[in-house]
């Protein structure tokens, strides 16, 4: 792609990035009154964004796990791309978290006075450690740039970093398990909100485990989706058909397991957890617009259908179908995160309480889009100047 065309494609994203930066500047200087969050909606679209991008970024740990620990060498074709996506997602999430808290300069308090009983402590510790891991994993990709490689120190560093990759992949997997889970636990422990509350297995509520599995499901789907999109835009074949098929199989089977467990969990919650609190499970679905359709869409339309398509359509269906199914799986995970954050907070807890909704302010939306634009720009630059898909040259035959 010529440089001029690349720049012209980046211009709209840069504008979005600048608007987002201004919104973030407003929030940091004037305070969170710039948002439409309130005492009831203490968490808004930003927390939804954090949960979502961290789930989508799970491809980094999962692919790393498969490549370096399980030795599935086929997936080396997408590991670099997965690392960049992971880095973007985690750094974006941490950035927005820093804007989201009232006193960002006190962020270190969590490390200094940690309350180990809080799921948020676990999340904070794990995602900062994991961002460090991802940065170290991203570094060799940058150092491998043709021009940078000329510098001896960079070359040696790149080579040596590559050798410690399996260790980092192992640590990354360990950390990811815990923080993906803790993000689920974040809401599962809220006894105040019977809609989100789940009973525990060991010391964690069931959402802890569901979030791990759903993140593992979203990761490969998102990699499949981005690889296909980038391949369409750049008009290059980036990975071989067999990699697509393998990714489709992985991103089909894990959601299927997830859908099964999620259904079991939902039934247990409807028939055991909620009645034990003296409430009727179905009563949570009486509040428009969050009626029962949302559960149906999450489990069937965004869960069961695409995972079956991905598993059985792997070799037979056209790429378009696989990609659409992967997109649906991602949507399913996003909807789940939306339900856990926004719907949970909108439901009343006391009899004289109200059902409430909230509309994000332009500052919140711009900051949200800032992360998207930031992701697109970092990924595009990485794709242009670094080697994200090792099979690219090999496959580039007309």
């Amino acid at each position: 792609m010529p440089f001029g065309k690349f720049v012209s494609l980046m211009i709209p994203w840069t504008i979005l990035l600048l608007i987002g930066m201004y919104a973030i500047f407003l929030c940091l200087t004037k305070g969170l009154n710039q948002t439409n969050m309130d005492n009831r909606f203490a968490f808004g679209v930003w927390i939804f964004l954090d949960l979502s991008v961290i789930a989508l970024g799970a491809g980094a740990f999962f692919t790393g796990f498969l490549v370096y620990i399980m030795k599935r060498d086929e997936l080396r074709a997408v590991i670099n791309s997965a690392v960049v996506l992971g880095f973007i997602c985690y750094s974006g999430a941490i950035l927005i978290l820093m804007v989201d808290v009232g006193q960002p300069l006190r962020a270190w308090f969590t490390f200094w006075h940690p309350n180990i009983h809080s799921m948020l402590t676990e999340v904070t510790f794990c995602i900062t450690c994991y961002l460090a891991v991802l940065s170290v994993e991203y570094a060799p990709l940058v150092l491998k740039n043709k021009k940078l490689k000329e510098i001896p120190a960079f070359l040696a560093m790149e080579y040596e970093l590559h050798r410690i990759m399996p260790v980092l992949a192992g640590v990354g997997t360990f950390l990811s398990f815990f923080h993906q889970g803790s993000l689920g636990g974040l809401f599962g422990v809220l006894q105040a909100h019977p809609f989100a509350f789940r009973e525990g297995l060991a010391i964690w509520p069931t959402t802890f485990f569901l979030f791990i599995i759903s993140a593992a499901a979203a990761g490969p789907s998102f990699i499949l989706l981005t690889t296909w999109i980038v391949s369409r835009i750049s008009r290059k074949r980036l990975v071989s058909e067999s990699v697509y098929t393998l990714l489709a199989r992985i991103s089909g089977s894990i959601p299927l397991v997830y859908v099964l467990l999620k259904s079991i969990d939902t039934f247990t919650w409807l028939n055991r957890t909620v009645p034990q609190m003296g409430l009727s499970g179905m009563s949570f679905f009486l509040w428009a617009p969050f009626n029962i359709w949302i559960l149906f869409v999450e489990i069937i339309v965004f869960g069961l259908i695409p995972s079956l398509l991905l598993i059985f359509g792997g070799g037979r269906l056209r790429a378009g179908w696989l990609v659409a199914s992967a997109a649906l799986v991602c949507c399913g995970i996003l909807l789940n995160r939306f339900v856990m954050t926004i719907q949970t907070l909108s439901l009343p807890t006391m009899a004289f309480d109200r059902f409430m909704l909230y509309t994000p302010s332009w500052q919140e939306i711009s900051a949200f889009l800032f992360v998207v634009a930031y992701g697109v720009i970092i990924y595009s630059l990485s794709f242009r100047y670094l080697r994200l898909f090792p099979q690219e040259t090999e496959l580039d035959r007309n």
């Binding site: 309130d38 006190r106 006075h113 402590t121 009899a351 409430m356």
Partner: protein, 255 residues
């Protein structure tokens, strides 16, 4: 310091409450709550004590309503806000049972607000600003909270300190019941709120809390609130545990 272990709590007679809001005003004035800016709403303002209205859902002439003054319910058993705070900014005072927010340690993540079933926690969305001259009316016993931290009712803990200091000055080891009373209790014109040590079996608050007509909000959650409500009316008592979905649209929050 008081060696005796206490468990401060209150009983609010909702049959007496007229919803006048005196407790809310007294609370805000006592605790140096800044007036909300022009663009603040009932959802962003700080009301450490807030009155909710509910009705029995019937038409005139059978209609009846009730007011629930809701502040921090001072949960006694695993308060949800304590375990979720990532940096131990919520502490339970073992000597008094008071659940207190430590604003100087608060990061403003607002997880505790999501975790509180009573929506009794409030976030400082704005910098605290008082109109010209009004800052002279600030209570010197209560420190101000900065923008971006969470706060809540701590049963006017500073009043307990004052009472203790007075007792110490007079050579007493213990404060006398009645020496320590939160501002809302003092302000209620209907004397609907009774305050005291729930562990003290001779106290009025203990007696009232043990009555059959007394109840607590969302007792099913097992958080053991130390704020009791009492009402002679059956339907009012039922509100405490009622599924909010069973009366959608019939209730409303007021200031």
């Amino acid at each position: 310091m008081s060696a005796k272990r206490a468990k401060y709590g209150m009983v609010i007679d909702v049959d007496r409450c007229t919803g006048c809001g005196a407790c809310m005003i007294a609370c805000a004035a006592e605790n140096n709550v800044p007036p909300g800016p022009a663009d603040s709403t009932d959802r962003t303002g700080i009301t450490l004590m807030r009155i909710y209205r509910a009705d029995n859902g019937k038409d005139f002439p059978e209609n009846e309503s009730v007011f629930f003054p809701v502040s921090c319910q001072q949960c006694d058993h695993h308060p949800p806000c304590v375990s979720v705070c990532p940096q131990n900014a919520v502490e339970v005072d073992a000597a008094t049972g008071i659940v207190a927010q430590i604003p100087v340690r608060c990061l403003g993540c607002r997880y505790c607000m999501a975790a509180c079933p009573y929506h009794a926690r409030y976030f400082n969305w704005w910098d605290p600003v008082w109109p010209e001259g009004m800052e002279r009316e600030l209570n010197p016993d209560v420190s101000l909270r900065m923008r971006g931290v969470v706060e809540k009712c701590n049963l006017c803990f500073h009043r307990l300190q004052t009472a203790r200091e007075k007792a110490a000055a007079e050579g007493r080891a213990e404060i006398i019941a009645g020496e320590y009373v939160p501002a809302c209790v003092e302000a209620c014109p209907a004397a609907a709120i009774t305050f005291g040590d729930l562990l003290d079996e001779e106290s009025e608050v203990h007696r009232l809390s043990q009555r059959g007509e007394s109840f607590r909000l969302l007792e099913r959650l097992g958080t053991g609130p130390k704020v009791y409500y009492t009402s002679e009316r059956e339907w009012v008592r039922a509100l405490a545990e009622k599924d909010p979905a069973s009366t959608p649209g019939r209730t409303a929050a007021t200031d």
